[in-house]
């Protein structure tokens, strides 16, 4: 049976037997999605490469612990997110960057623009340019759907800090969009 045509479950079983061909097939099947996730969370492409490599190694190491084999991709994405959080912690162990100022005042709705005009790559670059804390909270909440209590626990911050950073991230993104000359935001 060709590995490329295996179901996710069969591929998982084969990987759990440490079959290197199955590991290769698993890698090729999910590399794009997971690398895209890493690009969102990383500050730069080299950091995304490192995050991707480290995360995939962890995936292969921990495949035998997966408890819901039918949810392979969400599990892999979660491992990648955890890897991103670990790297974030390593980079910011001694850095304090949040406060409780009313972040929402920074944002402005005067120049909401059509994000659809930007390619996904351009959006990712915008997100990557955010400060680390903003980028983490923005990705976790807006893109990956974690709520603020979960984010607070994962990042080791309070819920208030999470909300504050999200508001700041939104404001910063809007500011960047404004600078890019996008002057109107339309929601389709």
């Amino acid at each position: 049976m060709a590995y490329s045509t295996m179901t996710d479950l069969d591929l998982l079983r084969a990987c759990q037997r440490n079959d290197p061909r199955a590991q290769t097939a698993l890698y090729h099947r999910f590399r794009g999605r997971l690398m895209g996730l890493c690009r969102r969370y990383a500050r730069s492409r080299p950091e995304a490469e490192d995050m991707f490599q480290e995360g995939f190694i962890r995936i292969f190491q921990q495949l035998h612990t997966i408890e819901q084999p039918d949810r392979l991709l969400p599990w892999m994405k979660r491992v990648m997110v955890n890897t991103a959080i670990n790297i974030y912690h390593k980079n910011h162990r001694l850095q304090a960057e949040t406060d409780y100022e009313a972040a929402q005042d920074i944002g402005t709705d005067d120049h909401l623009e059509t994000l659809a005009r930007l390619s996904a790559d351009e959006l990712v670059v915008l997100v990557q340019d955010l400060p680390d804390g903003y980028r983490m909270v923005f990705n976790l909440h807006v893109v990956d759907g974690f709520n603020h209590p979960e984010i607070a626990q994962m990042l080791g911050i309070s819920e208030g800090t999470s909300k504050s950073q999200l508001a700041r991230a939104r404001a910063a993104l809007k500011e960047k969009l404004k600078k890019l000359g996008i002057v109107r935001y339309e929601h389709s």
């Binding site: 999605r33 490469e49 612990t65 890897t83 944002g107 659809a116 994962m154 800090t161 939104r170």
Partner: protein, 440 residues
Amino acid sequence: MNTPEDEQAWDDLFRQRLENYEAEPAADALSRILAGTPKPTRMNRGRVAGRVAVALLLLVGASWWILDRWTTLPEKPTAAGISPVGATRKPAAPSTMATSPKTLSPIPSPAGPEQSVAVGTIAPRQKTVTEPAQKTFSYRPSETSWQTQAATYQRPTPTTYYENVQAARSAYPGWDDTSSTDMVSVLTEVASIAEPMQVNRLQHLGLRWPQFASPTLPINLQQSDIDALPSVSRRRQSSLYASVMALYSYRRISPNTNDEVYIRQIQSGRTFSSDRIGSRIQIGKEWRLTQRLGLRTGLTYGQLRTSMRYRLQTLFTDSTQVNWVNDQTVRITPMTDRPLSVASRYHFVGLNTDLIVSLGNGRLWSHYVTAGVTVGGYVAPVRRQSAFLQASYGIERPLTSDLWLRIEPSVQYSLNAISDRRNLCKIRPYTYGLSISFRK
């Protein structure tokens, strides 16, 4: 100012665009991932194997050195027909008598000429006590120092001696004092001239009785009496054994790498904590392959308790949790990392195989070393294949004619790390303990 609806729409748009965003990794990413996937354990295993080899060499060397110093006399006279315990026993010096010169206090002779006998002047292996008139008893406490440890004692008068000899002849017509090639003759001879000496004292002096005879046996046994002693069976070609081992563990603990938290300040039980003890039970069969080599295999069950404490996730210094206690009070709690404590008891079942190398025999115990492997798996709280390398140094002696006691300090090294998912660490146990076993 954006409304919540605007923000939600803005978020949804971002999510739609980025949720399934794909990017291409570097071309060599797969090779680096696959290279990093297997654990670099070869170095560690080689290092451990080297340590085990060095430990075995030290054990063997120490054992031979000890045996070389302690093995002074045969366990029993060859004439008695009792098989020696070990296979490498030194040949018996037929007429050599062993006793300790340090404790052989001079016995003053009330009358008659004093005849001091410097036993060190007589080569113990060549000198044969063939005649009572020889007036000399030699012994060899050790091959290196006996010459310097000679002592003297004063003989009783020849008259007394011959009287005792005559009494012995009358009591044991078969006894021949001119043929002291067996221990009975020599001991009788000693007893006859050193009446104050007690049997137990002679034993303290280094005299060695047939190994399993009662220590209070009269020393002037006849050959037939010794022959009648319960004989010690030779080691059988195969035998059964059962052992119990109390073990103690040292663990190498490493945090799981894919957790979303940081683990720090890992603390396991203190050195003598009860959280680090366990036990192992073995039952199986043993075969004697050659004179020095044996093989044993059997079933093994082991259980090992582990516990540890660690802290999760060092948080930022500015993270503070604010709670309203009431309208006038706010509780501000700096968010520090969380301490966790976990304890597990791992159960292991497997098959063990050990090679046994006999080192020889001491005064009472036979010495041996073993090395082997146990293959099986953990059955609770997780199921996982695993294996142990083990080595031991042991001593054994017979308790009855067909039951042997073994005492065996052992070390075990686990080839696999284990984790039970409840804790966030992998544990690789090393165990060492004392095994008590019986072989029949």
